[in-house]
């Protein structure tokens, strides 16, 4: 009983050390991990990209890859960007990197594109473009202006070249020329697309919108899947692990899956032990009072 009570007073640094060991162990001693269970929102994300690729009209349109994250959430957001961009490149879809919530996003998105472009024969300007960063205060006005005229609303790419002079932007005018919107974010930047662009195309169907939030933001987005405002979602690093499995790729997410599981086991064990300690302390106090 005394041992259980003492569990409540473990130095937090000991807990940090345990966590570091749990997370490091799979990197130091890699072991095969079972295939992840693919959640329905990940499957529908994958299906949506495949459907865009299979549609002869939509596959010539542009996918917006909105990278609204900074290096602080790179383990989740950058991994999601890599898996999603890999899928777009594998299916030869044209895309535009864009950022309006965090300036680092346009650079981090470009970093992944630079890493993958040779593998898939992609070339800047011909197959993809980086629209750069627009400040958050201008996001709504920029997105609203994109409905009718994207080259005019965005103006120049991240290198200062006018969009009308970039080959991949040829025949891209407004919302009707968008194949999908993919929002990769560590902050609340999704609503701008849903509010001001998603339902502005000429067709009856909204522009397919796919969401890659950090795990902490995912629970709030589930109603948007049910309402049809989102067509798919990757839930943090777990979503990236599932997507790598769907693409049959073994990247960082797959390598990290054992660390994620071990750290969760540790947290669960600590919660159980902490609660046992609380119950033991209460029981001890009751016995002390009864005496």
């Amino acid at each position: 009983m005394g041992f259980l009570v003492r569990l409540q007073d473990i130095d937090r640094r000991v807990l940090y050390l345990l966590l570091a060991v749990a997370v490091s162990f799979p990197f130091l001693f890699p072991a095969p991990v079972p295939d992840p269970a693919i959640l329905p929102q990940t499957q529908s994300f994958f299906r949506t990209v495949e459907a865009v690729s299979a549609d002869p009209v939509r596959r010539d349109k542009l996918v917006i890859l909105s990278c609204n994250f900074s290096s602080s959430t790179s383990a989740e957001s950058l991994t999601q960007t890599e898996t999603v961009m890999r899928h777009l490149m594998k299916n030869k879809l044209k895309f535009a990197i864009f950022s309006f919530n965090d300036p680092q996003g346009r650079e981090l998105g470009q970093l992944i594109a630079n890493r993958l472009q040779d593998e898939y024969g992609y070339q800047y300007g011909r197959d993809y473009v980086n629209w750069g960063f627009r400040p958050p205060a201008a996001a709504v006005n920029t997105v609203k202006a994109m409905v009718r005229n994207i080259p005019e609303a965005i103006g120049t790419d991240a290198n200062g070249t006018r969009l009308v002079e970039i080959p991949v932007m040829r025949n891209i005018r407004g919302a009707n020329d968008l194949a999908a919107i993919i929002e990769i974010t560590g902050s609340n930047s999704l609503p701008v697309w849903l509010q001001y662009l998603q339902r502005t195309g000429a067709g009856a169907e909204p522009i397919p919108t796919l969401y890659c939030p950090t795990a902490v933001m995912a629970p709030e987005a589930f109603p948007l899947l049910k309402s049809g405002q989102l067509q798919g979602m990757l839930t943090g690093l777990k979503g990236a692990i599932e997507y790598e499995a769907l693409l049959n790729v073994r990247g960082f997410a797959t390598r990290a899956s054992a660390s994620l599981s071990y750290s969760h086991f540790l947290i669960l064990a600590l919660i159980v032990l902490g609660n046992l300690g609380t119950f033991a302390a209460r029981a001890q106090a009751r016995r002390g009072g009864a005496r």
């Binding site: 990197f27 383990a75 989740e76 300036p103 750069g132 006005n141 849903l194 994620l260």
Partner: protein, 233 residues
């Protein structure tokens, strides 16, 4: 002396060592508060701010404002500067009334946009919460994020959904005192909210662990294995 600046391999090694030092410096807060941590914290904030200023100028202000005004003869863009500076008059006791002019203009813009935004974001959500057929419609399993359920499980799922929506809405109904069965439903709503908070807590743990895993992978693989010991990746 500075030849290493043009050597990509040496630059990568220097980058990795510096990033490792930054990571360890920031994690030193886990042991206790220290100056090493404070230094790297300020460095990180300074770099992020400097980068934000650079991208705002390079991607927006220069191509959309400065170049058209200076190089393309659109001199009227010069009026944007005093208009923008009006925002800062809020710090002046004497002239703060002038800042209200520009604030009023932007309040007007924001109010109109907010109305459109609210309708586009919340109306489909409300419709999907109300429009729940007891027996799931054909093709419901193909909806985004939907689990493939048997018809009976689909009916139970929809009943559960309705029960949760009604319970939680009742909990937030404060117009009259909740008594009797209403209080019971409201209490159930509170418990169901706690389930949701539990799910959010679980996701938060996963998000924070992911960040730690990212840095641990960097320290073990990129720094120690590939840079310090020169082992293959």
């Amino acid at each position: 002396m500075f030849d290493f600046l043009t050597n990509p391999g040496a630059m990568r090694t220097a980058n990795v060592w510096f990033a490792a030092l930054c990571t360890l410096g920031l994690y030193s807060i886990l042991y206790r508060e220290n100056r090493f941590f404070r230094f790297f914290e300020h460095l990180f904030i300074g770099l992020a701010t400097g980068y934000a200023v650079y991208t705002t100028w390079n991607d927006t202000l220069r191509p959309r404002w400065w170049d058209p005004m200076v190089a393309e003869g659109r001199w009227w863009w010069a009026f944007a500067l005093p208009a923008g500076l009006l925002f800062y008059l809020i710090y002046s006791r004497k002239y703060s009334w002038m800042s209200r002019l520009i604030f009023a203009v932007f309040f007007g813009f924001a109010a109109g946009q907010a109305f459109q935004g609210f309708a586009a974001y919340y109306f489909p959500l409300v419709r999907s919460a109300i429009n729940v057929p007891l027996v799931p419609a054909a093709g419901a399993a193909a909806a985004p994020g939907a689990y493939a359920l048997t018809p009976m499980a689909g009916v139970l799922n929809n009943l559960l959904f309705l029960f949760i929506v009604i319970s939680v809405m009742t909990y937030f109904f404060f117009s009259f005192e909740q008594k009797g069965p209403v209080a019971g439903v409201a209490r159930m709503g509170r418990y169901l909210l706690m389930f949701a908070f539990g799910a959010i807590f679980g996701s938060t743990v996963m998000a924070r662990m992911s960040l730690l895993i990212g840095r641990t992978d960097f320290l073990i693989n990129d720094w120690i294995r590939q840079t310090v010991f020169r082992l293959p990746g």
